[in-house]
Subunit: 336 residues, 2 copies
C-alpha cells in the first residue's frame, strides 16, 4: 500500500481520484487538498458520485502531516504557480507527481527554479516528476522510445491533432476559439491566447534523451479559420472566424531544424474533414511513421499517466526526474 | 568512451559493428569474436566495406582479456546456445547485451537458467539484458509504454505483419516458406518449422510490467497459403502452397484471453494486398489504436536497439534485467 495525497480536485484531480479509488488494495488515499471553498467540506464521494467519505480540505498542512509517500499535484501549469505546493510536499518528505506542464522539464522555463528544487528534493531524499499526456508522453517520451530502434536520425516531426469541443470556456479563451482573426493575432501578441503549454519542455526532453544540442526553440501560433459554422455549448464560431489555434514548436541545432512538434487544437475538426490523431515521423534510418487515431484523450491520458507513475516514483532516485529518467512507464493493474 | 566487444559477426553483428563505427567518439571497439573460420582473419573493415583494421578472431578469451565494459552477443536464439558466451563475458566483468530472443525474458523458457545467471551477474556486479526489435520492443516494451496512458485495460492485441522476402534459405526453412500445406503441418509437429521465437517472452514482459498474472501461454502456427505465385532468389512458391507462417501467441489469465500477439511472416505480402506494419490495440479506457506502416525492419531494428542500449547498460543495476526495467530506451546520437 502506497500512501497518496491529491492536491487539486478539479477535473484532473477528480480523474486521478477515480484511478486511486479503483486500486483500494494498492493505494491508501490519505487526503485531498483543494483551495476552492466550494469544494471544501465535500467528500471525495460527493465529487465523484462514488463511495468515499474522505473530505476535501483546504488545510494542506493537516494532510501533509499524515505523511503521504506521494503527493499528486494537479493544480496549475506554471512553475511559480506550483512552487509553494511542491515545496510543502517535499518538506513533508513526500515524492511529488505534478501535472504542471512546465515541470515535465523545468530547465526549459526556469533553470533557477529547477536547481533550487533539485537541491531541495535531494535534501529531503524524495523525487519530483512532471507527468501528463503532453508534455510527458505523446510528443516526447513516446518519440524517445521510438527513436531507440533507429540507427540514424535526421529530424523528428510529430503532430497531435485533437478536438477541443468537450472543453469549457477557459480553454476556448486560451486557444482563441470564437475570436476574429484580428482578435486572435492581438491575443497572441498580448499573451492572452497561449495555445499549448509544453513545447520547450517536450523538445528539451527529446534532445536531452537522445543527445542533441538544441540551441533555439521557436514557437508559432496560427489561427485555424473555419469555413463552416462550428458550435459548442460554450462558443459559436462563424465562417471566417477562428475555431482553434495551430501551435507549432520547432527546435533547431545550429540553424538546422531537428524537432518539429505541431499541435492544432480546434473544436469539431471533423466538420472540415480533419481526422484527430497522434502522429510521429522520424526521418532517419529506418524511417518511422506512427499514427494513432483518434488521439488519446488529453484529460484521461494525463490522469491515467500520473496515477500509473505512483508505483514508479516511490522507488526512484531523489531529485527532479523526467519521464525519460524513469523505467518504461506502464499501466498499474488493479489487484482487486 | 565505452569499451565494447562484439561476439558474432553475422548479419546482426555486422549491423551492430556499423553502428559502433558511426560513434568513434563514444565507443571503443576492443574486439570482435566469431566462431566461423571463414570470417576469422578478416578485419571488420573487410566485412563491412569500411575502414577498420580490427581483426575478427575466434579467440574469445583474448578479446575478453581486453576488459570490455559491454559485450554484445549476436549469435543464437536459445539460452543453452548462448550460455557459454554469456558466462564467459560475465566472468570477464563485462555487462552483456544479447540478441537471443529467449534472453528478453529468460524466465519464460528456463527459470533455472535465469536464476543461475542472475546470481552470476550479481556476483560479478554486471547486468545482462536481452535486446532486439521483437522481442524487446515492438510487441512488448512499446505496448507497455502505451499502456501507461490507460486507466483500465481489458485486453491487448498486437500484430506485426512483415515481409520475409529479403531473408535467406535458413529463414525460409524455419518459417516453412515453399512447403506444401502437408509438409508445413508436419514441420510444425516435428519442430523444424518454428515460426517466431519470442511470444512467451513478450507476453511475460508485458504481464510482469503491468501486473497481470498470465497462467497459460498458447502458441499456434498456421500456414499462409498463397493464391498467386510468389518467388524470391531462395524460394519459389506455387498457388496452393505455403508462403509463410502465421504465428500467434496468446496469454490467458484464468481462462480469459488477455494478450494476443499475431505475427504473420511471409514473402511478398503485397501480392495479395497485405500491407506490412506494426499494430497495437489496447482494449480499455481509453482505447488505443496504433499503427506503423511499413513495419520497422527486423534486422535494423534489432541491431539499432542493441547499440542504443550500450549507454544505458553501463549504468544499470546488476543482475538479469529486461527492457522494461531500464529507462525509456532512446537513440544515441553520434557526437562526431
Amino acid at each position: 500500500m502506497i500512501r497518496v495525497a491529491v492536491w487539486g480536485a478539479g477535473m484532473m484531480g477528480q480523474g486521478l481520484l477515480g484511478y486511486i479509488l479503483d486500486r483500494p488494495g494498492q493505494i491508501e488515499l490519505v487526503g485531498v487538498i483543494d483551495a476552492d471553498p466550494a469544494r471544501q467540506g465535500s467528500t471525495v464521494g460527493d465529487l465523484l458520485g462514488r463511495r468515499c467519505d474522505l473530505p476535501v480540505t483546504g488545510d494542506a498542512a493537516a494532510v501533509l502531516a499524515r505523511e503521504p509517500e506521494v503527493v499528486c499535484i494537479c493544480t496549475r501549469s506554471n512553475l511559480d504557480e506550483v512552487a509553494d505546493q511542491v515545496e510543502a510536499a517535499v518538506r513533508a518528505g513526500a515524492n511529488v507527481l505534478c501535472t504542471a506542464e512546465t515541470l515535465a522539464y523545468p530547465w526549459a522555463s526556469d533553470p533557477d527554479w529547477a536547481e533550487r528544487f533539485e537541491d531541495l528534493a535531494v535534501e529531503y531524499d524524495v523525487s519530483i516528476l512532471g507527468t501528463g499526456i503532453n508534455p510527458g508522453f505523446m510528443l516526447d517520451a513516446l518519440i524517445v522510445a521510438w527513436s531507440s530502434v533507429c540507427l540514424k536520425i535526421d529530424r523528428i516531426e510529430a503532430q497531435r491533432i485533437n478536438d477541443l469541443s468537450p472543453f469549457g470556456p477557459t480553454v476556448m479563451q486560451s486557444q482563441g476559439v470564437g475570436t476574429t482573426v484580428e482578435e486572435f493575432e492581438r491575443g497572441v501578441a498580448e499573451g492572452t491566447i497561449v495555445g499549448h503549454i509544453g513545447f520547450p519542455e517536450s523538445i528539451g526532453l527529446i534532445a536531452d534523451a537522445i543527445g542533441w544540442e538544441i540551441d533555439e526553440v521557436v514557437e508559432t501560433r496560427e489561427p485555424i479559420i473555419t469555413t463552416v459554422p462550428r458550435e459548442t455549448p460554450h462558443v459559436k464560431v462563424a465562417p471566417g472566424d477562428v475555431c482553434g489555434c495551430r501551435h507549432i514548436g520547432r527546435g533547431y541545432s545550429n540553424g538546422e531544424l531537428k524537432i518539429e512538434l505541431v499541435h492544432p487544437q480546434q473544436i469539431h475538426p471533423h466538420l472540415e474533414g480533419v481526422e484527430t490523431g497522434d502522429y510521429i515521423t522520424i526521418i532517419g534510418d529506418p524511417e518511422i511513421h506512427m499514427s494513432t487515431s483518434p488521439e488519446v484523450p488529453g484529460g484521461k491520458g494525463t490522469f491515467a499517466s500520473t496515477g500509473n507513475y505512483i508505483q514508479l516514483i516511490v522507488d526512484a532516485p531523489s531529485g527532479i526526474l523526467t519521464v525519460t529518467d524513469l523505467p518504461v512507464p506502464r499501466f498499474w493493474a488493479p489487484t482487486d
